[in-house]
Point group: C2
Chain length 555, copies 2
């Protein structure tokens, strides 16, 4: 096999420059274009996806012998794919046996394998897109971008940080201490990267690849075998990932059990897996309840979490009322609010705001956002492309319940998705509440549900938004204001609350978007998650350094 | 006040180069020499130390109003110094109020303050030496070196890593994403370092400064206020440190309550302090019992621990039997084995070993080490300079108990310390046990206590030594062998166990020595501690990044 590290070094070097500068950069093209991915790529992927349906998924790894799994596309399709039913003891044993060979490989060898896996994942972006679409419910273009190249960029970012951290540890050093007039004391030292142990990555149902790749590749690059535990509703994207990864590992001469899939676990088996003493690292994306369970119980492991966020928008004033309303409308609508970065709580002074169209009352602000939603989603094809489908029954039921619970600024109106009569989609529900009604808006209500909250003034809006972030977690915040002093106050408050703040977005960038190599996704400084995807802290503790020193011969 | 960062930038630059290369470097001269520190420095410090005795320590910080503390020198002296009795709520409140100003300072401003504190600590090294000597029981030269310049170097190392990590986060970035034929999307982004919160540093009685400075300066440099909680038996070295730190903070225009001393806490007050929700970081050096309590209870904080280690020596063969015995004898004797890096368990094949003096039986190896101990400690002045004094009653009683418990290779013979008739010192106790007698040697027996353990062969020695490290923790290991295959096996086994290995030390370097900027002290990969002093992981998670982004004007 060719030297994978040398092959991919140019992209690694660019990634290293990108994480240092945090400007715009992407390794993998986000356009689902035949010119880039091959003119037949889309059709080939559709055929490949169809060929996967209604049969066992070919993944040659140690298992229980059985097959299981029952994914249903939010677009209505029963996938009918089964996966090797995992046996936790066998997976752990296989990972344990695979570990030494992977640990002893050089950082370059491991990074080369990781980059080749990412490269091959990229070539399969159309197939991954089908898999992500029919598990998460994302519309096709989003499934392609977020599930394919954007996720791959996030994985590459993690590999770059991991490589950077490993390279900060020199391989060897000569220690030569002057000793007065005598011969110096001389030691030769060697520093060895020691991985932590077995890593488990727990995927979610909405962004099965985007949220899993950082932890997966960070652990892999630093020498830890990885067991991927997908959400039962979104196995296929990670099964494809593991399959491709195992192929590369094998071709590169490593035990493919460095990367394993833990699908179709029975009740209690996930708990047994993550609390096993062999498991040293866990990357978790999912709900706060299991997140807390992990914090309480998986104490033997380094735990990296992304849980829930209740993301606020503070509206103080604007010099582009239409642009603001359109931008917020898109943020509320995109993938039906099923993004960890989507806004939920929109704080507006009950006395209204100053705008380029003159003073707008609280009601008029709500009406402006509602009108913008209708404008955005008026065209059925565009509505389908923006909203996607509701991923889970729980989200669907939550919307119904909230829709009936109070005064509505914009209703949750069912939307037909062309070509998928069984898909469930609705326009985003926006409810109106008083700031005092915290019991209504102070918890995350995942899905296309948001609240227009009437406050005494912007100071109260910022205070409540930041306090909510500190107490319950937030990943993003947005503010609209023409007042520099308000900006300063908001920047200070949200920085202290550890929330990424977007200011006066009125054009083609949205608060829910988080770009690899530039946006630090999740701060790790509030309950929305304890880690950032990706920074140095996300990778530096996935390995340790073991030292050897011995007397050196005289120079 | 002058620009502290500019003043100290040359030393910072050298430190940054040193942590990248991990060769020999030191910022602060280790020789207690009048030529370096001033001809009157030693006498001045002795006078200053005498002037501190038997009165309240002047530290102007919020407290309960009372004074307390009762330190007794292991050399026999009642210090009679009292310290402002801490009130946990008042300390936390003072730190909370001091936090914003410190958080908002630039990394350069904070690092400048840290480097000035270290510079002033260095100038007070003779006084710190007195304080360390008369609390830890270290002999004067060791107290000077380990308590003064070596500790300062460790602090500087932490500052260098902290600065390096903070500088990896750019202050701002222009994000410019191509948009087909249209105008690119442009955002201006700002990245703000957000400290975690209040940090607590818990000191130990044997190396009150050396073990505390890394956490103290890492937290301080990254923007967190620090509350220093000294061991009740070793308050003075950290009280002096806090006093100097507060002076620098005040002169630099910061609230001096960024650095506070928590002395003379009543029962339960330390527990209340470390579990307070405001406390976000804890650095702990001390026994495994309180370490485990912290792990179980101080769950709101990032916890960095250095607990106990049971450090092994594996003797397989040697081409310098006398050098080996002398080297081991010194390691067992230095500061009476009261170092976290001192060896405890010496594994030797019961069939003996090959040496440059021919075959040596197991008994002869023990006799060689015993003879080397007697040779080293035969001169009373040298014995005093090497052994220091036993720090605590518990260690003294442990030695007495172990001395009576079985067959002895070298006895614990009382040693008189010239000038200090009340000081307790003994020659190191070496007992002989079979490998099967794990109940005797598999726990840490802190102090001048070690075991010569008879194994079946070197493979068993390595296996037992590495397994002990994995199970109970070890910071250092040593091996003596002339066989390259044995070296390879030992390097692999101890790397997997996360132990720093020293090979064939026969000269003037000893397994217990750990040099700043070169030796990674503690791996964090076994129960001896969860962190390394110092690497990137030690600092990278003491702060988070908060982002602001806004549409940019066209370039």
């Amino acid at each position: 096999m060719a030297d994978l590290f040398a092959t991919h070094k140019p992209v690694l070097d660019q990634a290293l420059a990108a994480i240092a500068g945090r400007g715009y950069w992407a390794a993998y093209p986000e356009m689902p274009s035949g010119k880039i991915y091959g003119e037949t790529a889309k059709a080939d992927a559709e055929a490949a996806f169809q060929a996967l349906l209604n049969k066992p998924f070919a993944l040659d790894q140690p298992g229980s012998g059985g097959f299981g799994g029952r994914e249903r596309s939010p677009y209505g399709l029963e996938l009918g794919i089964t996966y090797p039913k995992a046996s936790v003891p066998r997976l752990l044993e296989a990972a344990r046996k695979a570990a030494p060979g992977w640990a002893e490989a050089t950082p370059e060898a491991r990074v080369g394998v990781c980059l080749e896996i990412l490269h091959r994942l990229n070539r399969q972006s159309f197939l991954i897109a089908q898999a992500v679409m029919h598990t998460s419910g994302q519309a096709f273009v989003m499934a392609f971008q977020a599930g394919g190249p954007h996720a791959q960029d996030r994985g590459l970012e993690a590999v770059a940080y991991a490589y950077d951290e490993m390279k900060r540890v020199p391989v060897r050093a000569r220690w030569e201490k002057p000793a007065g007039k005598g011969e110096p004391l001389r030691l030769d030292k060697e520093f060895r990267i020691v991985p932590r142990g077995i890593a488990v990555v727990i995927g979610c149902s909405t962004f099965p690849t985007w949220n899993s790749y950082p932890g997966l590749f960070a652990s892999l690059a630093t020498g830890n075998p990885v067991i991927v535990k997908p959400h039962p509703g979104a196995i296929l994207p990670l099964a494809l990932t593991v399959k491709i990864g195992r192929e590369v590992l094998k071709e590169a001469g490593f035990d493919p059990n460095v990367l394993l899939l833990a699908a179709d676990l029975a009740d209690g088996e996930t708990q047994a897996l993550v609390t096993d003493p062999l498991v040293a690292i866990i990357d978790f994306t999912g709900g706060p309840a299991f997140g807390r369970w992990l914090e309480e119980n998986a104490r033997q492991a380094q735990l990296f979490t992304e849980k829930a966020g209740i993301n606020p928008v503070v509206i103080d004033s604007t010099d582009d009322f239409e642009g603001m309303c359109a931008n917020i409308a898109f943020s509320l609508s995109l993938y039906s609010g099923q993004m960890c970065t989507a806004p939920q709580n929109i704080f507006v002074p009950r006395s209204g705001i100053a705008t380029d169209q003159g003073h707008k009352t609280f009601e008029e602000v709500g009406a402006g956002i509602a009108r913008a939603i209708d404008r955005l989603l008026g065209d059925p094809d565009r509505a389908a492309a923006v909203l996607g489908a509701i991923q889970s029954d729980a989200t669907w039921e939550r919307v119904q319940k909230e829709a009936a619970a109070g005064e509505v600024v914009h209703p949750a109106t069912p939307v037909a998705i062309p070509g998928f009569p069984q898909a469930r989609a609705v326009t985003p529900l926006v409810r109106k509440v008083a700031a005092a009604a915290e019991e209504t808006y102070a918890e995350e209500k995942f899905g296309p549900i948001s609240f227009l909250i009437a406050t005494g003034d912007t100071a109260e809006s910022i205070r409540r938004a930041a306090a909510g972030a500190s107490a319950k977690g937030a990943i993003t915040a947005a503010i609209y204001t023409t007042d520099p002093d308000v900006l300063v106050a908001a920047e200070k408050a949200f920085a202290e609350a550890g929330v990424a703040l977007s200011e006066n977005l009125t054009g083609g960038v949205f608060v829910n978007q988080s770009a690899a190599f530039s946006d630090y996704h999740v701060s790790g400084a509030n309950p929305a998650g304890n880690a950032c995807l990706t920074d140095a802290a996300f990778v530096a503790n996935r390995f340790r350094v073991a030292m050897v020193r011995r007397p050196a011969k005289a120079a």
